[in-house]
Amino acid sequence: MKLVFHRPDHFRPTNRTSTYRPLPFRFMRWPGGEVLLTNDVGEFIFLPTDAFSAFAEQRLTNTCAVYAELKAKHFLHDSASTVPLQLLATKYRTKKSFLEGFTSLHMFVVTLRCDHSCPYCQVSRVNEDRTRFDMSIETADRSIELMFQSPSSALKVEFQGGESLLNFDLIKWIVNRVRERNKTEGRDIQFVVATNLAPLTDEILAFCADHGIYLSTSLDGPEFLHNRNRPRPGGNSHQVAIANLAKARTALGHDRVSALMTTTEASLRYPKEIIDEYVARGFDSIFLRALSPYGFAVRSRMAFRYETVQFVDFYNAGLDHIIELNRRGTPIIEVYTQLLLQKMLTPFATGYVDLQSPTGAGIAAVVYNYDGDVYASDEARMLAEMGDTSFRLGNVHQDSYASIFGGARLKAIVEGSCLETMPGCSECAFAPYCGADPVLNWATQGDPIGHRPTSAFCAKQMAVFRRLFDLLRNGDAFTRELLVRWATQVDTREAVA
């Protein structure tokens, strides 16, 4: 055999004029003379303005430096091959894989009774007649029935309230019922109890230990802030929570108890203190959640927007402090940042139902209220308590699985929450990283589609994305590596409620 090796140009066109076509992308002008381009699967590239113009106007030559980057990242293709499209289709499917299995998070509101009276909660009833505001066994059974009609191979059962432990008997009933039923179903079941920890007893802990149940509690910050946000008789919510946190960790294991914070106006001044409290209490992650608009129905739109600007300051200061803590050897992750970075830096989907396109409300997560009403999300339930049932999908005693999960109400919600078709979002370069929340839009702007230019949520998201891109590009080596590790070394298929 004659040894003939061909030169590079045998394998590509030699002429310098490109015959490339752009693949689907979105762009955003960036300060400093650059343009950010993103594709549908979240790959991104920054181009200098003139390179972008050349690319968009088909003037880019295939020998120039950015051409290879654009081609490899699937922003352009230059042959008749369908392989780039097949790869994109596979990647797209992976990004939307949170849709697989349909509804996997099922929240059971076992009671509205609660000993706390947190101003940001609209649902709790203190000291009320227990039969009126507790879920009945019949309702629980019907809800379980519906839950198992979900095709999802993994089911997370989350007990909510009020204070769910005040109806611990029903929690036991549901856990046992679900486990019994699962003997034939064979799903991967996880139980979580959302609780303020105040009613915790040894009996409860023993049951949780036996059944591998996780606890999720509220910790809003150091004592002065937590107690201010979360009043209860005796004013000692923090003290009780911390004491019972220790008991719970001893009984169940350190990693079986997690905490969430709710950010209020008061919280906004104390990002460092809140984070330090989490570190002091032995948590290795914190979720700097945005301000909730619920429960402040009388506030004007502009006031909410102003607070959102303040939230961005809070978030930035918090993230800086967290990075600094990490630099000094304290590993603590900010969960929302981690979530966004997963979307930006990995090919994988994320399971956070409040930031998906289409929204996860109803299709990924569902709420069975104490009275049998079914809601697309916890926020939808809260709206109903305030008199607005726009996002009520049906009732477990009256409606079938098909009409609740396949009915017109849910379909309308889903159809109206695809970023790819929403004004202001469809062309936004951050679209692959963002999500739609029709319940939030409805509550704050009076319309499930929402109005982007006046949307506080949009303004907040944009500010956060800009910050993260800035850190990824201009942060020091430690920061950049920290953020990449947050994004990539986690089981991205875990649903985050």
Partner: protein, 387 residues
């Protein structure tokens, strides 16, 4: 270099014979699977019924398939050899070695610039029968077995049969097939391989760029990049584990980080990625000027690409690089990967305190090029070589 071949004088051999090496007698019912080896010091023994006899000294026998006057020092008990009418004794399998590989076929549909086993355009489908016989004779306690070539997938259903035979006869043996993946762009072929259900199978597939024409140039075949990617996807869909192998040389080193990003984004199902040093055999020799770059000069890109995967929790390894030619940050990922039969060290390695962690060199390097940075390294580095 450990020899895998020996030549002697053949008698009564009319076609290829394969058997398991025995230095002592075995019972009559299994002699048909064995090749009896007679050292010069052995007394004549009962040689009836063996598949063949190898005699170190001069021996003659009527009707007995025999190769005499042949070197046997390199053989060990349990090895499998193939003997042919010309007196050529090929070692197909060495029981004492962790590096055994079935040479599937001489044919290949690529023509890589650095191919260490240049292809021959011959019809060697006959090899399938030999490979199946070999699998029957391999010790089931063998932990790992490779299949390479040429391009093993060109055996088509023959490869499927070999994998199925391995599943049946060697269920505890991890099977590692080296393939360019192109034939697996036929979906049904990949599905068929997946359907065999081998319990521990891995296909190692090379990728040399994130850009189609640059990969095609290295493998000297138009359309190869596309076919390989579709093949990889079909294997992934069929549930067949794959690993991506990147040979680092002058034509690939500059885009290593971009290749890493491409693999991470587009081949999420890959179980493992390896970055490999150039083996200066075969086509690499006439193409040396085109391919050679001192590894010390590409060390930063290699480290960047390796750590890209490590940071993301993707299993990654660096093969065929001496520890003194790469940054210490990636020492934990350097493996001792050169097959024992072609593994050596050079004079500069004397006194090197991390030698036992280092893979050394290919035997072929003796008269070729090595990095200007080869040097003995100081100790206290064991911690850095643990992953």
């Amino acid at each position: 270099m450990i020899p895998l071949s020996a030549y002697g004088k053949a008698e009564n051999i009319h076609g290829p014979i394969i058997g398991r090496v025995a230095f002592h007698g075995v019972e009559p019912s299994v002699r048909n699977d064995h090749v009896r080896v007679l050292r010069s010091s052995d007394r004549a023994a009962d040689l009836c019924g063996y598949a063949a006899v190898l005699a170190e000294g001069y021996v003659t026998a009527r009707e007995l398939p025999l190769v005499h006057s042949v070197s046997v020092d390199h053989l060990g008990p349990g090895d499998v050899v193939a003997v042919d009418p010309r007196g050529h004794v090929r070692t197909l399998y060495r029981r004492a070695s962790p590096h055994n590989s079935i040479f599937a076929t001489d044919r290949c549909n690529s023509f890589c610039l650095m191919c260490s086993q240049p292809p021959k355009n011959v019809d060697d489908q006959w090899r399938v029968a030999e490979h199946l016989r070999l699998v029957d004779l391999i010790d089931p306690a063998t932990t790992e077995l490779g299949i390479s070539g040429g391009e093993p997938a060109l055996l088509k259903d023959g490869l499927i049969d070999i994998v199925a035979r391995c599943k049946e006869r060697l269920p505890q043996t991890a099977l590692h097939i080296l393939s360019n993946g192109r034939v697996f762009s036929y979906r049904r072929f990949a599905a068929k391989l997946g359907a065999v259900g081998h319990p521990d199978l891995m296909i190692g597939v090379p990728l040399y760029s994130d850009i189609d024409d640059r990969h095609d140039y290295v493998v000297q075949a138009r359309g190869a990049f596309d076919e390989t990617l579709i093949g990889l996807h079909n294997l992934g869909a069929a549930g067949v584990p794959v690993e991506i192998r990147v040979v680092v040389h002058a034509l690939t080193w500059e885009r290593l980080p971009q290749i890493a990003e491409f693999v991470y984004r587009n081949l999420t199902f890959a179980s493992h990625v390896t970055f490999m040093g150039l083996e200066m055999m075969g086509f690499a020799v006439p193409n040396l000027e085109l391919l050679w770059i001192d590894p010390w000069d590409y060390r930063d890109k290699l480290a960047e690409a390796t750590l890209f995967f490590a940071t993301r929790g993707v299993p990654v390894s660096v093969y065929n690089h001496q520890l003194c030619t790469v940054p210490e940050t990636i020492w934990p990922y350097c493996r001792k990967s050169i097959s024992d039969w072609k593994n050596e060290y050079v004079a500069a390695c004397n006194g090197c305190e991390v030698r036992e962690h280092c893979g050394g060199f290919f035997s072929s390097v003796a008269n070729r090029r090595t990095s200007r940075h080869i040097q003995a390294m100081a100790a206290d580095l064991t911690a850095r070589t643990e992953c």
